[in-house]
């Protein structure tokens, strides 16, 4: 069992969820409530990271993050180490790739709040921020939850992008997904099976727990 890889994957999923949670809430809310020209196109654009095969998407990220590309060089200049073949690069790639999962369900969650409840929040003197925190978030929580669980699960299983921008460096970019795949490729079915089982068990536990906790969080926020 490659515990390092599992730990790395969980860290990656954790960071991705943590970074996408605010994005999911803010962009989801924006798309839910604001009307603007071309909104339909924006909604479709949000879906795009899904449409490209992860490997291809990863390839373009490799080009964009790499040496010689403006973004890659900017990062290198700022942080002092390259973005590709690094954990930070994986996180960034994962954040971009999970945008559709993070935004769409959250948007639906916000849309499902009856307008008069939001109006009541304003009439109770809540600033938009307080209304977001005390009223909208708890009520949109099932949607945001779905967004985060999809993101979490998907990051654990993400393979193509990680393969492309990661380079399979143990402890840095060799995630559990890559590790299992390597076992499979090496015809080590038993090793792959054990790792898969552990991954599935941990995910199952994590997601079940999250659902259970989220019910509480929903209540606490109230």
């Amino acid at each position: 069992m490659d515990w390092t890889a599992l730990g790395l994957s969980l860290r990656l999923a954790g960071w991705t969820v943590a970074l996408l949670l605010p994005v999911s809430v803010l962009v989801g809310r924006l798309l839910a409530y604001r009307r603007f020209a071309g909104k339909g196109v924006v909604e479709a654009l949000v879906m795009l990271p899904l449409v490209l095969p992860p490997t291809v998407f990863g390839f373009y990220l490799l080009l964009a993050f790499g040496r010689g590309a403006p973004f890659g060089d900017l990062w290198q200049g700022l942080v002092g180490r390259p973005l590709v073949f690094s954990f930070e690069g994986l996180v960034l790639a994962s954040v971009i790739f999970n945008l559709p999962f993070a935004i769409q369900p959250a948007q639906r969650g916000f849309q499902a709040i009856p307008p008069e409840v939001r109006e009541a929040a304003a009439c109770c003197g809540m600033s938009p921020l307080r209304a977001l925190w005390h009223i909208e978030l708890p009520l949109a929580w099932p949607g945001v939850m779905t967004a985060m669980v999809l993101t979490f699960a998907h990051t654990l299983g993400e393979f193509g992008i990680v393969l492309m921008v990661g380079g399979s460096i143990p402890g840095e970019t060799k995630t559990i997904a890559i590790s299992i795949y390597d076992r499979v490729q090496a015809f080590d079915n038993r090793g792959a099976g054990i790792m898969s089982a552990v991954l599935v068990a941990i995910s199952l536990a994590a997601i079940t727990l999250t659902y259970a906790l989220s019910a509480r969080v929903g209540r606490r926020l109230g």
């Binding site: 790499g66 040496r67 890659g72 390259p82 073949f85 492309m164 380079g167 460096i169 490729q185 090496a186």
Partner: protein, 237 residues
């Protein structure tokens, strides 16, 4: 086209096999469909009943195993010996040097960035790269710098994308014009690693077209292409 036989070919054959297939169609009017991928995957898929008619592996062991397990009818034919070499991007810090001195110097100086090879756990070219590095005594030192491609083609991708200082890739890829243009390549001495014996086999249920193509690969016309892409065949092999 729809019922043209499918040839499963290791990804190092990428350029050679496309050219051969085109020539084959030109000469005979028959056509084949190419599926390029990792040798290990193909072997597994063939066990699961994949409807390929020809399997061209990057490592003969896969075919010998299939034959041993009674999944393919014959041991097939050796069609080439692969070679590996160092590929570095233009203007990169490393020199394209087959004896890996430049790599060793960079390691010593602590200036080495990332270095790409195919995953030695399952990619034949990766394993040979590892052997070569071990032979040169660099394996331990280079490990922290390695980035691993899922297959040799991806390793080339890494080596040339500007994100690594270089890598060890297949000669066959380095000979392709679009890759050759991106950097410099030098062969690693053959004796530094086990030979990359590449074998192909006709699968159960292969039809006439497949048989014709199988035979065609061994004709001088095809051999010429193979040679051009670095799949030399030892005399009488």
């Amino acid at each position: 086209q729809e019922d043209a036989p499918v040839v499963a070919a290791a990804s190092d054959l990428q350029f050679a096999i496309e050219e051969i297939a085109a020539r084959f169609t030109e000469e005979t009017g028959m056509s084949v469909r190419l599926s390029l991928g990792s040798t290990g995957n193909f072997a597994r898929q063939i066990r699961a009943g994949a409807p390929f008619q020809i399997f061209m592996a990057a490592d003969e062991q896969f075919i010998l195993d299939l034959h041993r397990d009674g999944i393919v009818p014959t041991e097939g034919t050796l069609y080439g010996i692969g070679r590996i070499g160092v590929m570095v991007p233009h203007d990169g810090p490393l020199a394209a040097d087959g004896r890996l001195d430049s790599l060793a110097a960079a390691l010593e100086a602590g200036t080495l960035g990332r270095f790409a090879i195919a995953n030695p756990e399952h990619a034949p070219y990766g394993l040979r790269a590892k052997e070569a590095l071990q032979h040169r005594g660099l394996w331990e030192g280079v490990q922290p710098h390695l980035v691993l491609g899922e297959n040799v083609s991806q390793a080339a991708q890494f080596a040339l994308s500007g994100n690594a200082d270089g890598g060890i890739i297949a000669h066959s890829l380095a000979l392709a014009p679009q890759i050759a243009a991106q950097g410099e390549f030098a062969l690693i001495p053959e004796e530094w690693h086990q030979p990359l014996r590449q074998r192909m086999v006709l699968l159960e249920g292969a039809g006439e077209v497949a048989e014709a193509f199988y035979a065609y690969i061994l004709t001088p016309a095809a051999r010429e292409i193979m040679d051009r892409y670095g799949f030399s065949l030892p005399a009488g092999g």
